[in-house]
Symmetry: C2
DNA sequence: CTGAAAGCGCTTACAG
DNA sequence: CTGAAAGCGCTTACAG
C-alpha cells in the first residue's frame, strides 16, 4: 500500500492534481471554499506530502548536514542541541553524522551530504573542516564552521576566543598569587591548543612571570593524557602550584592525578579548566573554568547558516568571548 | 549552476542516460570497459547522484528518524552515538530531532518524518512513543522504542530492566548492612520510575526490611528536585542511612544536599544512582550506580530496526540487564 | 479560477 | 549490451 498521493486526493475531490497542489499550499489562486474542501479530503485520507518529490522540483531539502567528531561528547551534545532547536523552529531538519575525527570518514560524509542535497552544512571542531567548503562548492552548498581548527579565510565560522579565554584564566591564577603556573595542552597540531597556550604565555608575560618550558605539558584533551602529564609536572623539583588545562576533560585527569598523590585541591594545587561542561559544577571541589556558551554557539551557527541560505550575507567570522567561572578548584597558593 | 546530472554524463560519454545509470550502479549488463569509461567521466565532472531522485523511484531514503527528548542530555548523547555509528556503517543517515518531551512537538516530528519518508523511526525515552507507531502505520514505517514509557504490546522495543537493576542496587545497600534505605524517584507517571520503585520494594521485601512510606520521595530526575527531596529525607526523625536514586542526575542532587548539611558520603550516607553517566566516576566519592550500556543499546536498537527493514522479523521486546558498579559513594552504615 | 503539460533526476521493465 | 519510454510525486509556467 503506497502512500496516498496528490492524484488520489484529486480523484476523490473531483479536481485536477494541480488544483490539489495549489490548495494544499494555500495558493491565493484557489478560493477558500475549494481549498477547505480539498484540505479536508487530504486530512481524511491521511495525506502527507512527499518532501522527496517536492525537493526534486524546488531544489530545496530543508535539511542541514551536521558533522561532529562524536555526539557522545557532552560538549557537542550541547552544541547540537542549539543547532537542532533553532533549525527545527524554522522547519529545517538536522542530518547528524559523526566523523570520529577520521578524515576518510569525513570525506565520505561530505559525499553523502552532497548526494542528499542538504541545503547547508555545519561542521564542529573539525581539523579539516575548511576542506569541506571546497568539496561542497560545486553544488553551492554553504558551510559554517564551529570552533574549527584552521577556519580558513573564505569560510563562515564561529569560534570561541581561545587566546582571550586562556589569558583570563591564567590571569585569574596570577591574581590569586600563583607564580608557578603550568599548562597542560591537547595533542600536537590543534590550533585551539596553540591559541590557548599563547593566551597562557601572554598572561605570564604581562604579569612579568618568566615562561618556563618545563611547565608546559602535552595531554590528549581527555582525562587519561592529562593525568599522566600532571603526574610528571607534580614530580618536578619545583612543581607548579597551579595548572591551567586545555579543557575540562583534561582537568578531570589532573584532579585524579592530584588525588592519587594526596595533593589537595585547591590547597596544594589550583586547577582551572576550559569549556564549563555542565557536570564540572558538581565536582568536589567544583571546577573553575572558562565558560563556552555551547548551546548559544550552536544557535548562532545555525542562524548564520540560515541567513546565508536566505541570501543575506553576514559577517564571515564571529568570535565569541568565553567567561571565567570561578569555583572551588582555584585558590591562593600555600606559601 | 545546477548539479551535473546523469544526462550530462550521458552526453559527454556519448551514451544514453540509461546506460550511465547502469554503469554507475555497477550493473552486470554493462561491460567493464564501458563502465569504467563512464565512471571516469562521472568523476571528472564531480558527479554526485541525487539521492532525492533515486528515493523517489526506489521508495527508500536510507534515512532513519531519531527522536530524543534532548540531545544535550549525556544519556541520550551516548545512545545516539551508538545509533548513528551502526546506521552509518551500512549507509543509513540519521535525521535527529528533539522533542523537549512536548507531546505537541512530538506529533509535529512524526509528521515531518512521514513527509521525509524516512525508512524507519527510533524513539528514545518518550512517554508517548507507542502513539508514534499508530501514526506511522499507514506509511508502513517501522518504529523501534528505546527505554520507552509504556512500550505497548505491538511495538518493537529495547529496554533496560528497571526492576532488576533497582533490586540489585537496593540489595547492595542491604548487603552493606543498611536497614534505613530511601528511594528518590522521578516525577509521577513515569513507568521506569514505577519499575525501579518496585525493584526497590522487592529487595526490601526479600530482605525482610519493612517498607516505610516516608522513605519514598519524589524528585524530578534532575539534581534540583532530588536535592530538595533529599533535604526532606535528611530532616526526618530517623533519617535514612542510604538513598537509592532514580538516576545519576538525581544522585547529584543528593550529593549536594548532603554536602550542604555536612553529611559525609559514604560515612553518614550511602548514595546509589542509576545510568552510570560517564562523569560519575570522577565525582568524589565516585558514584555507585547501575550501569546502562547506553551506546550498545543504541546499536542494538538500530540493528533491530535494520533487521525489520530487511524483512527478517525479530524479537519484539528486548530487555537489557544493567550492571551494578560499586564505587566509593556506598559503604557500611556507621552504627 | 482551473487544467494540461512539462519537468525535476533518477530507475527499470521492455524491446531490440 | 543498449536505448526509448514510462513513471516516481510533486510544482509551476502557460493557456484558457
Amino acid at each position: 500500500m503506497a502512500a496516498v498521493s496528490i492524484k488520489d486526493i484529486a480523484r476523490i475531490a473531483g479536481v485536477s492534481h494541480s488544483t490539489v497542489s495549489r490548495a494544499l499550499r494555500d495558493s491565493p489562486l484557489i478560493p477558500a471554499r475549494t481549498r477547505e474542501r480539498i484540505q479536508l479530503v487530504a486530512q481524511e485520507q491521511g495525506y502527507a506530502a512527499s518532501a522527496i518529490a517536492r525537493s526534486l522540483v524546488t531544489r530545496k531539502t530543508h535539511a542541514i548536514g551536521v558533522v561532529v567528531t562524536s555526539i557522545a561528547d557532552p560538549f557537542n551534545g550541547e552544541v547540537v542541541s542549539g543547532i537542532e532547536e533553532t533549525g527545527n523552529a524554522v522547519g529545517y531538519s538536522v542530518v547528524l553524522a559523526t566523523s570520529q575525527a577520521d578524515p576518510e570518514r569525513e570525506m565520505a560524509l561530505v559525499r553523502s551530504f552532497k548526494e542528499r542535497r542538504v541545503d547547508g552544512v555545519l561542521v564542529a571542531s573539525s581539523r579539516v573542516g575548511a576542506l569541506y567548503a571546497e568539496s561542497l562548492a560545486d553544488l553551492r552548498i554553504p558551510i559554517v564552521l564551529l570552533n574549527n581548527q584552521h577556519p580558513g579565510e573564505f569560510v563562515y565560522s564561529i569560534t570561541i576566543d581561545n587566546a582571550a579565554g586562556a589569558e583570563e584564566a591564567t590571569r585569574h591564577l596570577v591574581d590569586l598569587g600563583h607564580r608557578r603556573i603550568a599548562y597542560i595542552g591537547d595533542r600536537l597540531g590543534m590550533q585551539s591548543d596553540a591559541e590557548r597556550k599563547a593566551g597562557y604565555e601572554e598572561a605570564l608575560r604581562v604579569s612579568g612571570i618568566p615562561f618556563r618550558k618545563e611547565y608546559v605539558a602535552r595531554g590528549d584533551g581527555k582525562p587519561a593524557g592529562a593525568r599522566e602529564a600532571a603526574g610528571r609536572l607534580l614530580e618536578l623539583q619545583e612543581p607548579p602550584s597551579a595548572i591551567f588545562c586545555y579543557n575540562d576533560m583534561s582537568a578531570l585527569g589532573v584532579l585524579e592525578a592530584a588525588a592519587s598523590r594526596g595533593v589537595q585541591v585547591p590547597r596544594d594545587l589550583s586547577v582551572c579548566g576550559f569549556d564549563d561542561l555542565f557536570f564540572t559544577q558538581f565536582l568536589s571541589p567544583p571546577l573553575t573554568t572558562i565558560h563556552q556558551p555551547k548551546r548559544e554557539m550552536g544557535q548562532q551557527a545555525m542562524q548564520l547558516l540560515l541567513s546565508i541560505l536566505s541570501g543575506e550575507e553576514r559577517r564571515k567570522g564571529i568570535k565569541i568571548r568565553g567567561e571565567l567561572i570561578i569555583r572551588g578548584s582555584t585558590g591562593r597558593p600555600r606559601e
